[in-house]
């Protein structure tokens, strides 16, 4: 089973997490046209992405830098610690 080495909550099994909300930076966009571009015409190629991940037991949100081609997680940060630009 996959485990994530999290700097905040330690090594936790993947089923405790849910990848939800997709890539960072497009959740609360203000401009309608930009939101449409991001939601429906965004780049869907497999590559390293920064994604919203939720840890269910602790109810903490993280940003994972993950390669969606290999499922390798490069880094994990607490969502409140990433730059404000990404937190939209």
């Amino acid at each position: 089973m996959k485990h994530f080495e999290c700097p905040v909550i330690g090594r936790r099994p993947a089923p405790e997490f849910i990848c939800s909300g997709g890539s960072v930076g497009i959740l609360l966009m203000e401009d309608g046209d930009a939101a449409r571009e991001a939601l429906f015409f965004g780049d869907a190629t497999a590559r390293v992405k920064r994604e919203w991940w939720y840890h269910k037991p602790s109810r903490l949100w993280f940003v994972f830098e993950r390669d969606t081609a290999t499922d390798f997680v490069h880094s994990i940060e607490l969502a409140t610690k990433v730059s404000p630009d990404e937190r939209v």
Binding site: M1, L27, L28, R59, L60
Partner: protein, 961 residues
């Protein structure tokens, strides 16, 4: 003692004290406890154990290791019984599959005579025209070929599922697997060890010439059994490698999902057949099969054996069988015996006749079994002159294919080792280790050392340290003959025994342009039978390579996908758990005669008493509208939101402006997703400046809490979100006399003046701290009481006891839905679908576009401008219970589908049928439309303003209309 049962062998698996009676093809047999079906039949001298898939040729034991399905059996209650490995069951009646009139006189065996007219792909080539004839031929051919008949009356078998979490999983218990497991156990790791045979030991369980390996096997197994952290599972196969060390291990009726940090794959190698004329006759088998029969089951595979040698191990087999009392007529070595190390000298010393550079050109049948072989010079054509030798056994030891399926699934890179004649892993994924024959190590010492080194690497991986052992060098002597195929003009040289494929079929495929391994596999179906190419892929690739003049490594190999063996559906399905949640009032509802329904994960009372749905719902409806009713709404999602930024958070989550709601007031709220789609609705009650209590949809509360936390993190808000769904219960009391029923139970002043709609109060109910909200969804004066789970039962009992005095009664969720529909409130997820936005519904007014930021706002900007459908109310006088309008009936506009009904019911209040429907495109504004009911009749409906009932809301707010 039967004809072929040997005297007791050291460490044999059978219990000769315990006889097991069974029948095969109608004849009675006796075997021993521990026998497989095939071993018991071979012991009795029965060697024709099945008929082939296509030509109905007689077949017998080939690999005796589940690498072929020559012996595929069925009983009255099961199919897919693999006779070579399934233990004998006392009293069972076994039959071979795919015969017409029994194994011995299969009426379909004539098909073989037509083989010349049945080249690969013939059925697509021959019967495609006229098109109408194809089904006829297809039915005929399908009835003649097959692997058993499914009987739908078979008893249902459901396996169980468990999860095994461990540090390391070791697959295979040959010398390398055992050495690895031993080292891991010694290091105190939690280890799961799996082997597909009934007993552990792998190739150590083959007949040997020395007792040393078996003594080591027994000692190591005893150590593993004594070790606390070791789980040894035999008779179970690792079905596939899934991401991150997840490996399902399949036993007869159980699946263990092993979650390992490190996986050591010591799956060994699969012995490969030689291909020559009539190489499928019963009596022609792998040398390893013969050695396993002797050592584990005390069964002689034959009386007089010829051994076909492509490696040194052939000599080990000959010597071991000779010492077990089997006459070795000759060893035909495909190369120079001097190249086999000292093996040939030992065989010669033992008096075995060795024929250098000799091949088996053809086998000969006597009564459908092997009676002799023709030998000629290695490399010659199949019909080149040679000598004929009588024998009833031909033991093939010409080469191996690494059992690298799991390694490949894990993402291992391989290279073809030309010396060794097999693929060897060159780059393994992190946490995956290979050892033993699958890793190109063949001698006993090298395999043990390779296993120990793999364990050292796994330990280093687990502990973040350096591996302490070096790997032994890969085997330098060839172990597989480069091309053990002899073509014979009379064909019948089988490559794939499952599918009855011959060299000729491969040649056809190449000739017609399907000349890659993957193309040839699909064109010929080579490797697509139940064995998944375990005995045929390598020979097919070798043939293709030789034909194209390429190296086998260049031709490549097919992708081995899970599962390694076919897994029974019942084991995959596992037990059918249906888990549900109950509120604390389940017993109380049962006492009232509740009829239950499933709402998401919850069970809820649909209505009470059993005089029939219609009558019960009518009575409950009448009670709420005219007097009072009460309903358990504990299943509501309930969320506590508090902290300095509580209002700011809810302004982000919901479309309305909750920061402007006064303390003590409730608001209907709606949540959207990024795309502006309605995902949830509920009530938000403001309990204090920084304190809200929010209800959410029963099924959506987990997601709502998650999204609240996300938006709080995103906006760096100082707020706490607590899910109280399973901590607080709720009861809604609704109707004109609700206040009278409830007032005596609480200290809260419920009068209209002190507690108007839509406000909220905190106070004691039956002495318990509670929250009471005036909510309006059923359209009457209503109070929703929220209080801790443990306290709801006394409240329910008190309401029940007092209700008769007010003409009140409990009501169920079906009645509630009717009441709600009369008020025109759409239910999110029932009346809305997965792409419905607020502007398409009567909820558009809840979207406050003047608010600068909320979830879905950007999408709303676009969506509000281009509404393309509308959720509307309708009424009709049609109220025929025999021909009802139902949910999902279509709205028809001329010849066009113009929408669908989402909710519909006969309204007792309005005395007509009411409903909600989605109208699309041009029909969006139609004032009348037709609904097509079951049977095609069109019912005229009129669009109606919402709500249907009490449009001014006077009953709800208790203000004069």
């Amino acid at each position: 003692m039967s004809a072929f049962r040997l005297p007791p062998q050291d460490g044999e698996w059978i219990d000769r004290a315990q006889e097991v009676a069974f029948s095969f093809e109608g004849s009675a047999y006796r075997g021993f406890a521990g026998d497989t079906i095939s071993s018991a039949l071979l012991a009795a001298g029965t060697r024709v154990l099945g008929r082939s898939f296509k030509y109905h040729r007689p077949r017998g034991v080939l690999s005796f290791a589940n690498h072929d399905v020559n012996v595929l059996l069925e009983t009255a209650t099961r199919i897919n019984i693999r006779g070579d490995v399934e233990p004998l069951v006392a009293g069972e009646h076994y039959k071979a599959v795919n015969t017409f009139g029994g194994l011995a006189r299969d009426k379909a065996r004539f098909i073989e005579k037509l083989a010349a007219f049945l080249p690969t792909g013939f059925y697509y080539k021959a019967f495609y025209r006229p098109a109408a004839s194809f089904p006829f031929w297809e039915r005929l051919i399908r009835s003649l070929s097959g692997l058993g008949r499914i009987n739908t009356d078979f008893p249902t078998t459901r396996g169980t599922t468990r999860r095994l979490v461990c540090d390391a999983l070791v697959i295979g218990t040959g010398p390398s697997g055992l050495a690895a497991a031993q080292a891991l156990a010694a290091a105190g790791k939690r280890v799961v060890v799996v082997d597909e045979h009934a007993r552990a030991g792998g190739s150590l369980n083959l007949a040997q010439t020395s007792p040393v390996p078996t003594a080591w096997r027994d000692r190591t197994l005893a150590e593993l059994r004594a070790a606390a952290g070791v789980t040894l599972i035999t008779g179970a196969y690792a079905a596939g490698y899934y991401a991150d060390g997840t490996v399902p291990v399949i036993e007869a009726e159980r699946m263990s999902i092993v979650c390992a940090r490190a996986v050591i794959i010591a799956t060994g190698a699969i012995e490969q057949p030689a291909v020559f004329h009539y190489n499928d006759l019963p009596g022609v088998m792998m040398a390893s099969a013969a050695r396993r029969l002797v050592a584990c089951f005390g069964v002689a595979p034959c009386r007089d054996a010829v051994v076909l040698a492509g490696n040194a191990e052939a000599y080990e087999a000959a010597l071991a069988l000779k010492s077990a009392g089997i006459n070795i007529v000759a060893i035909a070595d495909l190369a120079d015996p001097a190249s086999r190390g000292d093996s040939a000298a030992r065989a010669e010393a033992a008096g075995i006749r060795i024929l250098p550079r000799t091949q088996v050109a053809a086998a000969h049948a006597v009564n459908g079994e092997l009676g002799g072989v023709t030998l000629n010079a290695a490399g010659a054509a199949g019909d080149a002159p040679g000598q004929q030798i009588n024998c009833d056994g031909l033991l093939m030891s010409v080469g191996w294919a690494p059992a690298a399926q799991l390694l490949a699934q894990a993402g291992t890179k391989f290279e073809f080792d030309e010396t060794l004649g097999q693929l060897r892993p060159t780059k393994l994924p992190s946490g995956v280790f290979a050892a033993g024959r699958v890793n190109g190590r063949f001698s006993l010492v090298a395999r043990q050392a390779d296993g120990a080194a793999a364990a050292a690497e796994a330990l280093a991986f687990l502990d973040g340290s350096e591996a302490s052992l070096a790997r032994p060098a890969p085997e330098a002597a060839p172990q597989s003959h480069p091309l053990p195929l002899v073509e014979h003009p009379r064909r019948k040289n089988f490559v794939d025994f499952d599918e009855d494929l011959q060299i000729e079929d491969l040649r056809t495929s190449i000739r017609e342009g399907f000349d890659g391994v993957e193309l040839m596999k699909r064109y010929t179906t080579n490797g697509m039978g139940p064995s998944q190419g375990k005995h045929s892929n390598v020979n097919a690739a070798r043939f293709l390579a030789s034909h194209l003049g390429q190296a086998v490594g260049v031709v490549g190999h097919t992708t081995p996908r899970p599962f390694y063996h076919p897994v029974p559906m019942g084991v995959l399905g596992g037990p059918r758990w249906r888990m549900h949640c109950e509120t604390p009032l389940t017993a109380a509802h049962d006492a009232l005669g509740a009829t239950w329904t499933e709402v998401g994960v919850w069970r809820r009372p649909k209505y009470y008493r059993s005089e029939g749905a219609g009558a019960a719902i009518l009575e409950e409806h009448k009670a709420v509208r005219e007097r009072v009713g009460f309903i358990d709404v504990s299943t509501l999602g309930k969320i506590e939101v508090f902290g300095p930024d509580a209002a700011a958070l809810l302004d982000l989550v919901y479309t309305s402006r909750l920061s402007k709601a006064p303390v003590g007031v409730t608001r209907v709220v709606m949540a959207l997703d990024q795309r502006g789609i309605i995902v949830d609705d509920g009530i938000a009650a403001r309990l204090g400046p920084n304190h809200y209590y929010v209800t959410a949809g029963t099924g959506h509360v987990v997601a709502t809490v998650r999204e609240m936390n996300q938006l709080a993190a995103l906006a760096e808000l100082d707020v706490n979100v607590i899910d109280l769904t399973r901590h607080w219960a709720a009861v809604n009391v609704a109707g004109p006399r609700a206040r009278e029923l409830l007032q005596e139970l609480t200290e809260i002043d419920l009068s209209a003046a002190a507690f108007p709609f839509p406000e909220v109060r905190e106070g004691r109910v039956l002495g318990v701290a509670a929250r009471v909200m005036r909510v309006g969804f059923v359209g009457e004066s209503a109070f929703e009481i929220h209080l801790p789970y443990s306290q709801v039962a006394p409240l329910w009992e008190a309401l029940k006891a007092r209700a008769p005095a007010f003409g009140g009664r409990p009501f169920g969720v079906e009645t509630q839905r009717l009441l709600r529909l009369e008020k025109g409130h759409p239910i999110v997820g029932l009346d809305t679908d997965g792409v419905m936005n607020p502007f398409e519904t009567p909820l558009a007014g809840l979207v406050k576009m003047d608010k600068p930021r909320f979830m879905g706002r950007a999408a709303c900007e676009l969506l509000s401008a281009g509404v393309q459908r509308q959720l509307v109310g309708f009424t009709t006088d049609h109220a025929d219970p025999a021909q009802p309008i139902e949910e999902c009936h279509l709205v028809i506009d001329g010849a066009r589908i113009a929408g669908r009904v989402t909710s519909v019911a006969f309204s007792p209040s309005l005395q007509k049928t009411i409903g909600l429907a989605v109208l699309e495109g041009e029909s969006m504004t139609a004032s009348q439309f037709d609904i097509r009911i079951q049977g095609g009749r069109l019912i005229r409906a009129r669009r109606a303003e919402l709500p249907f009932y009490d449009p001014t809301g006077a009953r709800l707010t208790e203000q004069p209309a």
